[in-house]
Structures are given as C-alpha cells and as structure tokens.
C-alpha cells in the first residue's frame, strides 16, 4: 500500500499539476491489484488528493483499465479493419472455442481473459493479438492452442517479474 502511494508520488513529481499523474497512477494501481477494484480508486484518490469517483470516471473512459477482475493472462484480439480483412474474426472465434468463453470473458479456470479490441497499430502484420501487453503478429487460428497451453502453465506476468 505504502509502496503504491510512494510510487504515485514519484509520478506526481513529473507533472506541474498532480492531476496529470492520474493515468500513470491508475496503471500502477492496476499493476498492483491486477485490476481496478474499488479500493484501488480509493488508494489512487488518496495519493492524488482527488475523489475516488473522479478516478473511476477517468478509468472507465479507457479500454485498458479493468473494472472487473481478469484472469492471469489477458489475450486481446484486434478485429479492426486491417486485421478483419485478413481473418481476425475467424481467429477470435477460434480463441472462443478453445477457451469456452465469449469475448469479453475469462476462462473457467481463471487463467485467461479474452477480449476483442480495436486497432492496435500493427495493421500491416495482422491479425495482431496482444498477450499481456505484448504484440504477436500474423497470428493464425492454428497458433491459438499452443499459445493457450503456454499461458495456462505460466504465472501472472507481475508474479513472474517478482
């Protein structure tokens, strides 16, 4: 807790106005909690001297903040135009079949959260899949099963760093 508070104070130092640090603070909190539960907003609000409601209001505006718990790994499939033209919808369905969930959703074992996302800026190398914030390009339906096998056997990225 105190670490998060301190880490946020270091971010605040980079901005002439503490409010500017809200996105870095929310990123830090998400790293800390794995998602953004209500207490994350209270902690961020306290560290920034802002209301938790404001922090929630800001967080809920963006796609990358999770307001619900997520699995150990997050797989995000771009289904925007360039990727769609080269088969990302088929790829997404393959993920859904393998995981037994509809996007957005988390596999029953709590291991993998599947999300559909908008253009990731990898359009020339589609379909693009983002796995725990790492891009994987030219992703094909046959790559799905191996990836999931690997993910199921690896811990949460934050834990593997530790």
């Amino acid at each position: 807790m105190a670490e998060l508070y301190e880490a946020i104070q270091r971010e605040i130092a980079k901005y002439p106005d503490r409010r500017g640090a809200i996105l870095p603070a929310l990123h830090l909190a998400q790293e800390h909690y794995g998602w953004l539960p209500p207490e994350a907003f209270e902690a961020v609000g306290e560290a920034l001297d802002l209301s938790p409601a404001h922090c929630l209001s800001v967080a809920s505006f963006y796609d990358m903040f999770f307001l619900q718990p997520v699995g150990d790994h997050v797989v995000e499939v771009c289904t925007n135009l360039s990727c769609a033209l080269v088969g990302s919808d088929r790829l997404l369905r393959q993920f859904e079949r393998e995981l037994g969930v509809h996007a957005p959703g988390t596999s029953e074992d709590g291991k993998v959260t599947l999300r559909r996302v908008e253009c990731l800026g990898g359009c020339g190398w589609g379909p693009v899949v983002m796995v725990d914030e790492q891009y994987q390009e030219h992703f094909q339906p046959e790559d799905v099963a191996p990836l999931l096998t690997e993910l199921r056997s690896t811990p949460r990225p934050s834990e593997s760093h530790a």
């Binding site: 907003f41 306290e46 001297d49 409601a53 929630l56 505006f61």
Partner: protein, 799 residues
C-alpha cells in the same frame, strides 16, 4: 471603489438580419436573446458552471464565413459577425432538428409521469421544434430507475441527455468530484463512486441545473404539478449568507426550495441545508404557550402565559435592578421581532446577548474595512483564517471562494488543516487549533515588517513576529510569505471563521490598509441574523451572560430561539447555571436543552412562517416572506407586542410597522425600503473612516493536551440544528466524520474508512475515519452536532 472603468468597447453584429450593438465579448446566446429577441435553444450552456463546453449542440447557428455550423454558446460577439439562427437558416434548422432527434433517441418521453413535466426545457423544445413522428427502428437504451444517488436526490438515467451540467457542478463548482460520468460514448452514465451517496453540501443544486427530469429531489417526487403550486419569494435563514429563494407552496406545505438567484449574494446556488432542511413535522412543534405544572409543561392560554411572563420579568427586574433579567437570543429572529425584544429589554434594564462571543460580534468596529460577498469574486487574494470551514458558517460562500480561486485569486488557508478548501489552495499555513487570535497578531507583525504601499507601520503589534508565530504554532517563513502576498495584493479579502475578538481583526486590517483598498474583511457570524439582532440593539454575548448567571446576579432569563446548552462550547456550565436560575423562559420551535429547564415556553416562529427582514453577514437587509401561518396561529411579532403591553411598553405589532420604525430611527436601517428589501436587495454601505485600533494581547490557544490525547477541532457544522436533525434526507450529510492526520492514523493503526470514537468534554462522537495529509498531527477534527469546544482535548480510538 475601483478607478473609473474605461468605456466598454462595443461591437456591432447581425442576428437573423437584425443589427445589434453589444459590449465586446458578450456571449452570442445572451446577446441574441436580449438584444435581437432571438432565443437560441441551449441545454449544456450555463455560465455559472464555467466556460461553455459546446457539448449538446442544440445551439448550432450559421456564421457567415465559417465552413460549418458553430455552437453559439461557445461564441462571443465580434464586430461584423453575421449570424443566422434556425429561424432564418435552413441548415441550422435541420441541424437543430437533428440534435433534438438524437436526444430523443433514448429519452423515454414519459412527460406525463415526470415531475419536470411543465417546467422542462427538453419538453418545451420538443413541442416547439421536435419532429412529429419518429424514424426510429432501433431499441432505446434502458436503465434501472429511478436510482437514488443520495437520500435527497434520485437519478433517472433514461431521461438523462448527458449535458454534463451536474458533473460540471460537482467537478468545477463544488469541486468535490463525487458526481461523475462513467464509461464512454453511448454507454456514458452519470454515477457516484461505489454506491456511495452524493454527499456534497451543495448537492441539491444539480436538481435545479438538470434541464430534464433526470435529477430530481426525492422529497418532491410526484408531489405537485406546476399549475398547482405557488412560488413565494423569500430568503433562506439557514445561515447568515442570506441566499435568495423561492418557496414552492402546495396545499399549505412548503414542498420545495429553489434558488431565486441573487448574483451578489448566492450566485444562484443553495446549500442542502437551505434547500432540504424543514422544521417538520409541524405537529411536533411547540404550538401553544406552555406553563410548567406539577405534571410538566402544560398548554396555557396566550394571555395568561404572556401576563405571567410579563409579571415575572418585571418582578425580577425591579428586585434585582439593572441586569437582573437577561434576554438571550441567537441570531434567529427577524429584525422586526428583535425590535420588540429590544423594547422589552430596555424597559426592564435587561442584559441582552445575541452572539455566543460578544467580542467576536462587534461588526461595527470593522465597518471601515468591511467587504461584501462580491468582493470575494473580485479579490486577487483570499485568506481564510480559523479552525472552521467557511461553509460551516456561511454555506454558499464556500462556492464563491472556490470561484475566486479558479479566477486566479491567491487562496491561502490558515488553520490546523483537514478542511476541503486546502486541497487546491495556493498556500496552506498550519497553525494550532483555536489560535485564530494569535495568528491574526502574528500576521499583523509580519505585515508591518513586510511594509509596502498600503501598509501602516503604526499598527499595534503584540510582540515580535517570532514569538507570536510560536504562540500561533505557525512557521515564520510561511507567515512572511503570506504577508508578502497580502501586501502586494490589490483587492485582498480576509475571511475569519473563528469567534475571535474583532479588535484582533481590526489591527491586521489597519496594518494592511484594507480601508483604503477594494476587498476587506468578512468575519462570519454564527446566527443567521446575528448582525441584524445586534444592529437593532440586542448586543452582548452569551460569554458575558454566563458568568452573571452562574453568580446568580441574573434572576430571570428569556432564551429566544437559541439553545446554549447545545450550541455553546460551555454547554455543561449553561445547563447547571440555568438549573439554579429562578425564572427561565424560553421561546422555541421544538423541545430542547433549554425548554426542559423552563417554567414557561412560548412557540417560536420559523422559516416560511415569518414576515420581516434579516441582515446577512455583509450587512445586506433582505425580506423574508411567509408561506405558512405560524403553528401557533399567532405571529411572534404580534404576541411580543402583547407581552410588551404587559410590561407597559409599546412595540409595533406588524412587520411593516416595525420595519418603518427601524428605518426611521435606526441608522443601520436608514433609507431602506420595504419593497426593495423584498426583491434583489442592494447592499447599502459607506465605509466610515478607519481609526487606529488600540493595542491588545492576542488570546492564547489552549494548552497542549496530555500525552496521548488530541487537540480537538469541533466547529458547529453547517448541517446541524433543529431542522437539519429532523430532515431524514439529510442524515447522510450529518454522518459522523473523524479527520485524522495521516501520521497519527498510521501510528494508531486506523485505516481510512474505519469507525472511530472520539471522546471529548461535551460527549462521544463516532465517525468514519478520513485521513488528511495537512491536518496538524496530534489534532482531530470532527463534525459534532453542537459546539464541543475547539482546542480542548479529546481521546481517539478505533471502535
């Protein structure tokens, strides 16, 4: 006050073919409506919320030369502008129809069951411009509704048109940031955090700001239709700000309070106390005179009760001589009612006491430096000195201070910390609780030391800056910086929230030369009409009466609309002293700490029952109007006059007569007109010349508490008093709070949100822990319902 303004530059433009000339920079929507008579429809535009945001797009107009339609609300008039509104531009008309159609895409159109029906801008515009039929083939968004966002407000998300007025109020005006929009795009909704009630002290304003029926006061739901109601113009007497209001009356009940927007007083805002608190239920009120019998207080006939009161007062007065009788008030009377009591006390040679602390209520001694409320708007520096939040004593002043800060004023908060204004203040100077007097003395010394154009070096200082700073618990460096900012400011306003001797304030004001500058001082009275009562002649303080009462020199006491047992920091002493006083007579709305000690109790008239005038904290005399008959059936001013008869004095029995008498004979009311006081009352004031104040010693803050104990900061909160305590929908505003310094909380292992008990001299307070990074360590701040004695010690523990 200020130097002569240069003649305002004007611009000439054309709106729908009509040429108009307006001051440069006038918002186009305003100019069009006022000068060209063209109403440009708006939803999100509301200048009191800050700069226009151009969100709803209802106001689209064609501007010659612009490639596309422009939101009129974001435009200011410029020279040669050619504007075509929907009246004359096909393109603008089509766009406006489009915007309205988009708005109605999700709107339930349930006007027949909506409380806003008949007063709803969306409904009006839909009738005027809306498409006759719908082209919709897609489903509407639906939400669970209505959703209470607090006990006093309900939200209907389906009706919401996402104009962001409510969230801008919360974020940009009240600055609490508790009412927000969440999600994005078509999924955006208005929300609070994690099911918590929207608890801002000014939350009710959103129900007036919402242009549709999405945010409504819970208490007014399904209560009335616009054609069944009467709106009575009056003034709120919840505190000394004197916000102008409309009381919505239906079938002999005040169902709703709305702002009557007096820009110089309230800016169109009300606090939730003024808006929602009611002296209800009426059947619990003291409705007849009560006389104590063996069995307790028993109803008595008016004349019998008044005769007895008259006899006893005369008896004690003649027996004990001057000062043997005390008339104690608390700033809750109208000026006209006070006039009756003044005559009575004169004829009895009685002591009077209208304020808790006499020395803190000597407003006249500060007349040379007096600031008005609007002076805060124009201020370039606003300094708040004291333990309390300004809002504790003057609700909407808080919003005005924030507005001044947003406009660029240097806001400095000087106090023990833990208040909401510090967060965005330019400077915060930590001091000991109860050190207001010492702080003023230290600042005076710092100002004299700083010198400067306006500064008077002959201001009496009570010691060296260093020693005074030590007494105040403040850092010398910080005081010097603040003194520098104050001497450099052109229009500083000093707001003193504590009950300090006005002489302390006068010495600083003199040093700063505030009499020679715009701005000035704005001390905050405790009672809503404390200034008025005093101006009428009910001078003196409870602090002077109490020793005499304890000593037994006061034989008979009349307590009119006040309860020092609860409202004074010396409550316990009052209780004991009253118990040993021969004649205790009280005038009260409900039974309370003093009625239980009284032999005779008379019914008090409250808000919406009284006709008369009150004087607000800046000295503005405004008229309050009745909507209801007093519960007793006999207006107080009338029975006071009858009581006066029994004492053989005459006092006017009607408000108008009393007011006329005041206007004729009392300089404070000279030249005032009954009619003008009832509309948008002007502030009549000339500052007298300042005189060099006498030297004096600052009061010392309380001694350091025992080891392990805390210094207590317990100002009487805004949300306190008989009406607030009886209003269920304000319960969340009174919920117990315990503010602790971060360091103390960590040491005690108390987490944010934990339930904490604070034991202090006046009782035990339980509240939710809030952590403050600025509150002086070793100090605890609570919102106790009464006055618990700031500076006294307290013991804190987790519950």
């Amino acid at each position: 006050m200020s130097a002569t303004q240069p003649a305002t530059e004007t611009v000439t433009l054309t709106v729908d073919g009509r040429e108009i000339t307006v001051p440069k920079g006038t918002p186009l929507v305003v100019a069009a409506a006022e000068q060209a008579g063209v109403e440009i429809p708006v939803f999100c535009y509301e200048p009191r919320l800050g700069p226009p945001i151009g969100a709803c797009r209802m106001c689209l107009v064609e501007i010659e030369g612009a490639p596309k339609l422009q939101a009129a609300c974001t435009l200011s008039c410029t020279d040669g502008m050619v504007v075509k509104t929907a009246e004359t531009s096909e393109q603008a008309k089509d766009a406006q129809d489009g915007v309205l159609e988009f708005m109605l895409l999700n709107h339930p159109l349930d006007c027949p069951v909506c409380d806003k029906g008949g007063e709803c801008p969306l409904q009006d515009l839909t009738f005027r411009y809306g498409p006759g039929n719908t082209r919709m083939t897609i489903p509407k968004r639906t939400y669970e509704k209505p959703l209470p966002i607090s006990p006093s407000i309900v939200l209907d998300r389906e009706r919401c048109i996402l104009c962001y007025r409510c969230t801008r109020f919360s974020g940009d005006v009240a600055e609490d940031g508790e009412l927000v929009a969440r999600e994005r795009g078509a999924q955006s909704v208005i929300a609070t955090f994690a099911e918590q009630p929207y608890a801002n002290a000014f939350s009710g304003n959103v129900t007036e700001l919402c242009p549709v029926g999405a945010l409504l006061p819970t208490a007014y739901r399904f209560k009335a239709r616009p054609w069944e109601i009467v709106n009575v113009p009056t003034v709120c007497t919840g505190c000394a700000t004197g916000c102008n209001t409309w009381a919505t009356l239906r079938e002999n009940k005040v169902e709703r309070i709305l702002s009557r927007n007096h820009p110089d007083v309230d800016d169109g805002w009300l606090c939730d106390k003024g808006r929602f608190a009611r002296f209800e239920p009426r059947d619990e009120r003291i409705a007849t005179p009560l006389v104590r019998e063996q069995t307790g207080l028993t109803a008595a006939a008016w004349d019998d009760a008044l005769r007895t009161v008259g006899q006893r007062l005369r008896h004690h007065s003649s027996l004990a001589g001057p000062g043997g009788v005390a008339i104690v008030t608390g700033g809750s009377l109208t000026n006209e009612e006070a006039l009756g009591w003044k005559a009575i006390s004169d004829s009895l040679a009685a002591r009077t006491a209208s304020a808790p602390v006499a020395a803190a209520a000597d407003w006249e001694s500060l007349a040379a430096y007096a600031a008005s409320l609007v002076a805060v708007d124009d201020a370039d520096a606003v300094v708040v000195i004291g333990d309390q939040e300004p809002a504790d004593r003057a609700g909407t002043l808080d919003l005005r201070i924030r507005k001044a800060r947003r406009a660029g004023a240097h806001l400095a908060i000087v106090g023990p910390g833990g208040t909401s204004l510090e967060r965005d203040a330019k400077s915060f100077i930590s001091t000991l609780p109860g050190a207001g007097s010492a702080v003023l003395a230290a600042l005076t010394a710092a100002v004299v030391e700083a010198g400067g154009e306006h500064v008077r070096s002959d201001a009496p200082t009570a010691g060296s800056l260093e020693s005074l700073a030590t007494a105040a618990g403040a850092e010398v460096g910080q005081l010097r910086e603040l003194a520098g900012a104050l001497t450099a400011a052109q229009r500083p306003v000093l707001i003193v929230t504590d009950a300090v001797d006005t002489a302390d304030i006068a010495r600083l004001a003199w040093a700063l030369g505030l009499d020679r500058r715009a701005g000035g001082v704005l001390p905050l009275p405790v009672g809503a009409n404390e200034r008025g009562e005093r101006a009428v002649g009910l001078v003196g303080g409870w602090d002077e009466v109490l020793p005499a009462l304890e000593a037994g020199t006061i034989k008979a006491i009349v307590l009119v609309g006040c309860d020092p047992v609860l409202e004074s920091a010396d409550g316990e002493r009052w209780q004991l002293a009253l118990a040993q006083t021969e004649a205790v007579i009280s005038v009260a709305a409900f039974t309370n700490g003093v009625t239980s000690q009284s032999q005779i109790v008379l019914p008090l008239d409250v808000e919406h029952e009284r006709d008369g005038t009150v004087m607000n904290l800046e000295g503005r005399v405004q008229r309050v109007r009745p909507s209801l008959a007093p519960v007793s059936g006999v207006p107080q001013i009338e029975w006071t006059s009858r009581l006066a008869g029994f004492i053989e004095v005459t006092t006017p029995a009607s408000p108008l007569k009393a007011f006329t008498a005041l206007a004729e004979s009392n300089p404070a009311f000279a030249g005032l007109s009954w009619t003008e006081a009832g509309d948008r009352a002007e502030l009549q004031r000339e500052r007298p010349a300042a005189e060099r104040p006498a030297a004096g010693k600052p009061a010392k803050p309380a001694k350091a508490p025992e080891k392990g104990a805390f210094r207590l900061v317990a100002p009487r909160p805004l949300f306190s008093g008989a009406a607030v305590e009886r209003t269920a929908s304000l319960a969340h505003q009174r919920a117990g709070i315990v503010v602790l310094a971060r360091a103390d909380a960590e040491r005690l292992g108390i987490a944010r949100g934990a339930q904490v008990v604070v034991r202090h001299a006046a009782g035990e307070h339980v509240g939710t822990a809030q952590l403050s990074r600025r509150l002086l360590p070793g100090t605890v701040r609570i919102n106790w319902r009464g006055a618990a004695g700031t500076g006294s010690t307290a013991v804190v523990g987790a519950q």
